[in-house]
């Protein structure tokens, strides 16, 4: 076995014997010995880090997760706790432990741009880990712990700079962004040496089991076999139990219920809505457009139009008008014009009326999630006419603007209207009502949205309203969501209620 030793002390000692250098202080000599004795790591197992962290009281499930990752998973794991259970704390505990034990010297943390400052703050203040945010021209060779956005990391010249470092640990937050193995970021992460590696995501499966395959293959290639073997064994869901066992070996997943903490309830419901006759007529006309012009024959654009029609005429108009410009035939143009006229003549939006009804009944702060910017603006205008104050929120906002909007919402406005991308990295425990005005195709997006309010620190029951218009594409979306939730539960584990409480 390799034994490392240094002759440094011997040389210093000989210098003293030869009177080349002076002898040291006896009190400091004794102190030095006592310090080493106090810091000695006397066992391979167990966590040292908590005693170094007076400003942090980790929860039982967080300590257990850290221990499991270090002792049973050898420091390579997916941390897949449900949203709001403190995956960052777990990652911090693990990193700290390896730093204390001298197993990690340099670590790289990749996170969405909007979460970088949060990471840096938590690591510095809660864990005394001197992490710095990467900016252009940061000389990363001088810093041991660097937090960087994924988008930056994957591009030149940053990727080359990263490759030139020898990182002992890689931590990737919001790791579901790696679900697609054909993306640049996936290839980049694959090209990194991963001695110790943590992937953080509450939603390791969003659509199908292959996402999990690619995620795990990044962490531990071969754990689920190669693609061929995986395809033949697991794609037909006959062996889901076996797959679940394999997944458990590399994944820690705490659920709210198992944390020993009292959680407030989630009251989730689907609110069915009926279109008015006029709305229904326009919706049907839109569906029929594919029979009128080849411009509308693409499945994707048709679906978009239908979804938008379920949202607002403002959102629909933007797309419809753009597509009309692609029509060449006079007759077709006339037809589309008629549809647009009918659309713009609509005076009632049944869904927004329902949303208004819910807000009035709640008589409390409410978050509305919509998929469309046009709808977002319309909702604000509509609520304003009813005397309800609201603020807008979306992912493009800078950190300071986000904080400002959050404060406005907390202190002044009744409603926060957010687009999808506003979902990540904002915590709004002071609010207990969420309206999903439009449904996303991905159930995990719903989970992320709900997680903004249903997290540690929430003191009230949380009400979730999923709006869906009868006899429209939104019914198909619901069916689709149920099917995906089923896949997730079969291979990853139970999921908290996101569509409806049964």
């Amino acid at each position: 076995m390799k034994i490392e030793r240094s002759t440094e002390w011997k040389e210093g000692f000989m210098n003293r014997l030869d009177n080349v250098e002076p002898w040291n202080n006896w009190e400091l000599y004794k102190m030095s010995y006592e310090v080493v004795k106090a810091n000695i790591i006397s066992d391979f197992s167990g966590l040292q880090s908590p005693k170094y962290l007076p400003n942090l009281t980790p929860l039982a499930h967080q300590l257990e997760a850290a221990e499991t990752v270090i002792e049973r998973m050898n420091g390579k794991a997916i941390l897949a706790d449900e949203v709001g259970l403190g995956k960052t704390i777990e990652a911090g505990l693990i990193l700290k432990e390896y730093l204390i034990r001298g197993l990690v010297k340099k670590a790289l943390i990749l996170a969405p741009a909007s979460l970088i400052n949060q990471w840096v703050e938590e690591l510095n203040y809660k864990f005394y880990i001197p992490a710095i945010p990467y900016r252009k021209n940061t000389p990363i060779e001088y810093y041991d712990i660097v937090v960087m956005s994924m988008d930056t990391a994957k591009r030149s010249p940053h990727r080359e700079l990263i490759h030139a470092q020898n990182y002992d640990m890689i931590i990737i937050d919001e790791a579901h962004k790696l679900k697609n193995h054909k993306t640049q970021i996936y290839e980049f992460v694959q090209s990194l040496k991963k001695k110790f590696c943590l992937l953080l995501t509450a939603t390791p499966v969003q659509n199908d089991v292959f996402e999990l395959f690619y995620l795990i293959s990044l962490l531990k290639p071969g754990h689920l076999g190669n693609l061929e073997a995986f395809q033949s064994s697991f794609s037909d869901s006959k062996h889901d139990d076996y797959l679940k066992e394999l997944v458990k070996q590399v994944m820690v997943r705490n659920r709210r219920q198992n944390t020993g903490i009292e959680w407030t309830n989630r009251r989730v419901q689907i609110i069915p809505i009926e279109f008015s006759e006029e709305e229904k007529e326009v919706y049907d006309l839109i569906v029929d457009l594919k029979n009128i012009s080849p411009v509308f024959s693409g499945a994707f654009s048709m679906i978009t139009l239908q979804k938008e029609m379920c949202s607002s005429k403002e959102a629909t108009y933007l797309t419809l008008n753009k597509m009309r410009q692609n029509c060449t035939n006079e007759e077709e143009i006339d037809h589309v014009e008629t549809v647009i006229q009918k659309l713009m003549a609509l005076e009632i939006n049944s869904k927004v009326e329902k949303a208004y009804e819910i807000i009035t009944e709640a008589n409390d702060k409410v978050i509305i999630f919509t998929e469309y910017r046009a709808t977002q603006a319309y909702l604000q205008w509509y609520l304003n006419t009813k005397g309800i104050t609201s603020v807008l929120f979306n992912g493009k906002f800078s950190k300071s603007k986000r904080d400002w909007m959050k404060r406005l919402f907390q202190e002044q406005a009744q409603v926060l209207i957010a687009t999808e991308s506003g979902g990540e990295g904002i915590n709004l425990q002071f609010c207990h009502h969420v309206i999903n005005y439009d449904l996303p195709w991905n159930p995990m997006k719903l989970e992320q949205r709900i997680g903004r309010v249903h997290r540690l620190g929430q003191e009230y029951d949380v009400h979730i309203y999923n709006l869906a218009i009868n006899n429209t594409i939104e019914q198909n979306i619901l069916d689709f969501l149920y099917a995906k939730i089923d896949v997730f539960e079969k291979v990853v584990g139970e999921l908290d209620d996101i569509l409806s409480t049964f």
């Binding site: 076995m1 390799k2 034994i3 490392e4 030793r5 240094s6 002390w9 011997k10 210093g12 000692f13 000989m14 003293r16 014997l17 002898w23 040291n24 202080n25 006896w26 009190e27 400091l28 000599y29 004794k30 102190m31 030095s32 010995y33 310090v35 080493v36 004795k37 106090a38 000695i40 790591i41 006397s42 066992d43 391979f44 197992s45 005693k51 170094y52 962290l53 007076p54 270090i70 002792e71 050898n74 420091g75 034990r101 001298g102 197993l103 005394y128 002992d168 694959q190 090209s191 040496k193 991963k194 001695k195 110790f196 531990k220 290639p221 071969g222 754990h223 076999g225 190669n226 073997a229």
Partner: protein, 260 residues
Amino acid sequence: MYPQQVHKYLSVFFKETSCQILSNHPDYITVQLTIDMDKKIMNRPFYWRNIESTGGVPNPALLNLITDQNKLGADVKGEVVHFGSPRLNRLFQTTKELGAFVLMYERVLGKGEAQTILTPWLGVNYKVSYYSDQTMEMLYSFGINLITGIVREDFQESLHEVNLETYQSKHTFNLPFIIKPVRGLERLDKIIEQIIEQDDHLWAEEAKGRWQKDQDILEYFYEGMENKPECYEMEKQAMKEQYEARIKIEIINGGLFYMK
């Protein structure tokens, strides 16, 4: 280390390094650093380079270190120092540097003309670390009598009972070495190696097992692939770094001790 221990540590450290303690409250300590200590613990090389090249007036830092935040009111401002804080780590490091080699004599109260004979000992404190993807550390303290070659365990602890000073008492006579200190050191090094050799290295076997298992999984993933991609070699290298068993022997400090 509890706040009280940290506090005591700081008091002794600054006293021994000749930094003036301006106030020593039970829960905080205010200290004026010397230029030397500022250079060692404040981590501001540019400042000192600048002062020295321009001949400016050096202004070593005045530190207000809080050891028990919970007991203090909000009016006391300063840096909180606790077990695990970077500042304390820096001080630990400095302590190690400034307390690595000693030459000590047992104090003898002179009675008449009779000379007391002092025997030279070499004392060395070792830290041994076992590394794989996990770690464990052990502390060993050995002393070797440089006349007889007798080796004593727990040497550092045994010194608690001896009254040691940095100078030789009157009426004492130091026996000259029969074993040279450097040879003594080599003998102690040997003993440490023997201890390691005889130790149970199940930990290394287990790490090897984990390594093999991961290796097998990796091979399976790339099975039948003619030209394995670059990341295959990289994964293998990562595993080696992760699991390979290594042992590190480190001398914390040591010295010559003349004792009865």
